[in-house]
């Protein structure tokens, strides 16, 4: 049977079929946890190839696991039931801009960063900017509905997609949406497929919307003595009449780690700092920052430093960039969460995380996209210490549950995948889950596309960070 499938797959993709063990094991992980072993890896290069493979998989009932750059933080591309890994990372040849229509078309393996660059060359912008842009693929962004710092002003991936080319689980090539912003012909399948984590269809081409590139940016750093005020100031800024283009927060722990790492003259004693960027007409930017400053004064926040030069501005954003490397400790593994809460609940979330940190005696650093309530509490843990791992599992679970309690969500942008599926029904409810399952059942009756994701299996109630 295996031989037969190998023969058929190689008829479709030739030497882009990988079956040696060293190849297969290299497609069994992502940036989250767990290691699996697929039976076959195919590096697809056209919708036609995808179609033929899906038809084959349908005949033999073999699971298909789509995979972009495997930067998923939730286990999205993991081949949990073996089968075929469909690698899109090399299908990056098609990328075309239509500047007069303000749109870009791309094959699924194109890197998000390349889309940013091409748009910028035409003085345009593709706003979604996950920190992983230099590596992740647009296909992966669409499947996870990725966000980024600019989300606070511009939204996330789903807000910039006009249409998709998709191969269905039955092996049909269909198009959703079109080339226009307005389009109400039938169901909004585009939005349904975005964020579906590769479980409803395979994306083989995307038509993305661009906007004019903002003329300039300006950045301020707000320094806080206590976390509660920091949390409060987020809503204060967002209701001041100005819409920042980025708003990122670092807690004291994060500030100190960055300072240890890079010595950028950050205020070590501050409870938190907030980086606020505004973009647009250079003449308006200073005025906008003044408005923000005045609003903050109303709640007695007066420590605001505005970057005077482009270098200073770059240095401030460097701070945010360095959080990731700075909080790593040798020998420890970083677990980043992305529970998201309503803006007014950010101070509560901070308090809760602090509580969890003390309760489980863990090393937790908090930073994140303050402007949309999307925090990334990050835990450094020793994955070889079973006891500690189980403590972390408990801690993360407590954070998840609290986020939901506050009216927030399990995941702002990283997706459910394998990692958060035990909590999925907690957030959407039993009926909500069945409704979603019905959609999956209707579109993929044989459960071929990315099985083992999003929906928990019977009895799956706990977060598990290790699979062996």
């Amino acid at each position: 049977m295996k031989e037969k499938i190998i023969e058929k797959l190689s008829e479709i993709v030739g030497d882009r079929l990988l079956t040696d063990i060293d190849e297969r094991v290299s497609y069994g992980y992502d940036a989250s946890f767990g290691q699996y072993m697929p039976d076959y890896v195919v590096q697809v290069m056209s919708a036609e190839e995808v179609r033929e493979i899906i038809q084959l998989a349908n005949t033999y009932e073999i699971p298909i696991y789509p995979r972009g750059a495997s930067t998923s933080l939730s286990g999205g591309p993991l081949p949990v039931h073996a089968g075929i890994v469909m690698d899109f990372s090399q299908w990056n040849q098609y990328l075309e801009i239509f500047p007069d229509d303000l749109l870009i078309k791309a094959s699924p393996g194109v890197k998000t960063g390349d889309i940013h660059q091409l748009a910028e060359e035409h003085n345009l912008m593709y706003p979604p900017d996950p920190s992983s842009s230099s590596i992740c693929t647009i296909g992966g962004n669409l499947a996870e509905n990725a966000g980024g710092p600019r989300g606070v002003k511009y939204g996330v991936t789903k807000d910039f997609v006009l249409g998709l080319e998709v191969v269905t689980a039955e092996g049909e090539i269909i198009r959703t949406g079109g080339n226009t912003v307005k389009n109400v012909t039938g169901y909004d399948l585009t939005k349904l497929l975005i964020g579906s984590e590769g479980t409803l269809g395979i994306i083989t081409e995307a038509t993305l919307r661009l906007i004019p590139k903002p003329m300039d940016t300006k950045t301020a750093m707000v320094i806080f003595d206590d976390l509660y005020t920091a949390g409060k100031s987020i809503s204060k800024i967002l209701t001041s009449g100005v819409r920042p283009s980025k708003m990122e927060i670092l807690d004291q722990n994060a500030i100190n780690k960055v300072e240890d790492y890079a010595r950028l003259h950050l205020p070590r004693t501050a409870a938190a700092i907030l980086l606020v960027e505004v973009d647009g007409d250079p003449d308006a930017l200073t005025k906008e920052l003044n408005v923000i400053q005045r609003a903050l004064l109303e709640i007695e926040v007066d420590n605001v430093q505005i970057a005077k030069t482009k270098e200073e501005e770059a240095r401030l954003w460097q701070v945010r960039k360095l959080v990731s490397p700075a909080i790593v400790q040798s020998g420890y593994t970083k677990i980043s969460e992305d529970a998201t809460v309503p803006l007014s609940k950010i101070p509560d979330m901070f308090r809760k995380i602090d509580e969890v940190k003390k309760k489980y005696n863990l090393n937790i650093v908090v930073f994140g996209h303050a402007g949309d309530g999307n925090l990334h509490p990050t835990i450094n843990t020793n994955m070889r210490d079973a006891e500690e791992v189980s403590k972390v599992e408990d801690a993360v679970e407590e954070i998840f549950r609290y986020a939901i309690e506050l009216g927030g969500t399990l995941s702002g942008e990283h997706g459910i995948g394998t990692m958060k599926k035990p909590f999925f029904p907690v957030e959407v409810g039993e009926a909500g889950m069945l409704f979603q399952k019905a959609i999956k059942q209707a579109l993929d009756p044989k459960n071929i596309l990315n099985p083992g994701k999003i929906f928990p299996e019977a009895g799956e109630k706990r977060l598990v960070l290790k699979n062996d």
Binding site: A31, S70, S132, S134, V328, S330, G331
Partner: protein, 423 residues
């Protein structure tokens, strides 16, 4: 899980990798071969899987063998994974696991056991021989070419530089400590044969700018090739020899002109256990190691002539990724009068030379070189400036292969500075 494998492989270090993939776009072999197992993330995972017994030792081989060891992945890694250590542990385990093929064995023996290690032989070999015959490596290639009428190594031979007769550098040890900066010169063995003109020039440049340069006779090969081949004991032996040799003098700096050798020297402390006497001595030794470009960057170079050329710079991977010297060579190059510096796209990508990679894995190395040359052709320079002999040969080869020898010359940064200084 096999206990011994977990110990032998740097299993602990693999946990620092969060599999984020940031290293993928920086890795030349991933870009060229387009598969995850040829990426840093993939290789680290192979080592981890082998240590856990989930795949066999031999299953690591292809991925590990085809790594250039350029360590560009370390420079971009946000979590500072010690990729070099993981790689070396895998190379050693693989070496112990299987006898090498005849060819590989021959090349390796010739390259570092016989020829490179013994300076005396090196000098003898050099004397009176033409460039094509000097090193065991080259002879072996030629012999293989005869047996096997493949053309593939011919270009490589053509690219090898004409070798000057090696002679001892002047500047004997000076017993009197002067007030001038005291520089101990480290000549390196490949450099000694292929490029001793560059060493000569480097010494002259330093002396001309007020430094006292001493080339000590008791130095040994740095051990880079041995190290990369997993010959741990030989490497340690050479390291001890060098540390001892330079301890006998009171130098402010120990200077070399080879990115790869300098990297190995700077990593000597890793060869010894922390807390041991040898570790302490290695740390002291390493603190003085400088690349020639670091030295040239701290003096006011006394330029006399213009070098009116459009030039690009191909940095040495080990100078950048291991020695962490990024800006100094550029600063020097940009200050050379008349020279028009053009930034080469993706210049940080390895050229595919990587020690003796281009000999052991010729085809793969050429794939990587072709990626490099594509960008070179876009930049259209008249001069390619290098900072390491391996890159030098490889870039020369690239130029040959593209049929651009008449338009583009390849020079070491020291040659260019010397020319501008009228040395």
């Amino acid at each position: 899980m096999t206990e011994t494998l977990i110990e032998k492989l740097d299993y602990q270090a693999t946990f620092d990798c969060v599999q984020c993939g940031y290293c993928l776009p920086a890795c030349p072999t991933y870009l060229a071969f387009k598969k995850e197992k040829h990426s840093p993330r993939g290789r680290i995972n192979l080592v981890k899987m082998a240590a856990e017994g989930k795949i066999g030792i031999e299953d690591m081989r292809e991925g590990i063998d085809l790594c250039l060891g350029c360590r560009a992945c370390e420079t971009v890694c946000p979590t500072n994974v010690r990729y070099g250590d993981i790689l070396m542990s895998a190379v050693e385990v693989l070496k112990d696991n299987k006898k090498m093929g005849i060819f590989e064995k021959g090349v390796r023996r010739a390259a570092f056991k016989v020829v490179l290690k013994n300076k005396q032989i090196l000098r003898l070999v050099n004397k009176g021989l033409y460039a094509y015959q000097i090193s065991g490596v080259k002879r072996l290639i030629n012999r293989r070419n005869l047996l096997n009428p493949m053309e593939k190594y011919r270009d490589l031979n053509k690219a090898m530089p004409d070798v000057r007769l090696s002679r001892r550098l002047k500047n004997p040890p000076n017993p009197f400590r002067k007030s001038a900066i005291q520089v101990g010169f480290f000549q390196g063995c490949i450099m000694d044969v292929f490029f001793n003109r560059i060493n000569d020039l480097a010494v002259k440049i330093l002396s001309r700018h007020g430094m006292e340069v001493t080339n000590i006779p008791s130095q040994a090969c740095c051990g880079a090739l041995q190290h990369h081949a997993g010959e741990h004991n030989q490497t340690v032996e050479l390291a001890k020899k060098n540390i001892e040799a330079y301890e006998a003098y009171d130098f402010d700096y120990i200077v070399n002109t080879i990115g790869g050798c300098g990297a190995t020297l700077k990593e000597y402390p890793k060869l010894f256990k922390e807390g041991t006497e040898w570790h302490r001595r290695a740390v002291n030794f390493t603190a003085k190691i400088r690349d020639i470009s670091e030295m040239m960057a701290i003096v006011d170079l006394n330029f006399q002539y213009e070098v009116s050329k459009n030039a690009i710079f191909q940095p040495s991977c080990h100078l950048e990724n291991v020695q962490q010297v990024f800006e100094d060579p550029l600063k020097i190059i940009k200050s050379i009068p008349g020279l028009n510096y053009i930034e080469l796209k993706d210049k940080a990508l390895c050229c595919g030379s990587a020690g003796i990679y281009n000999i052991l894995h010729f085809e793969e190395s050429m794939q990587i070189l072709d990626m490099k040359m594509k960008n070179v052709k876009v930049a259209r320079p008249e001069l390619i400036i290098t900072s390491n002999p391996g890159c030098h040969i490889q870039m020369q080869l690239g130029v040959e292969r593209e049929g651009l020898s008449d338009e583009i010359s390849v020079k070491h940064i020291v040659e260019v500075v010397a020319e501008a200084c009228g040395i």
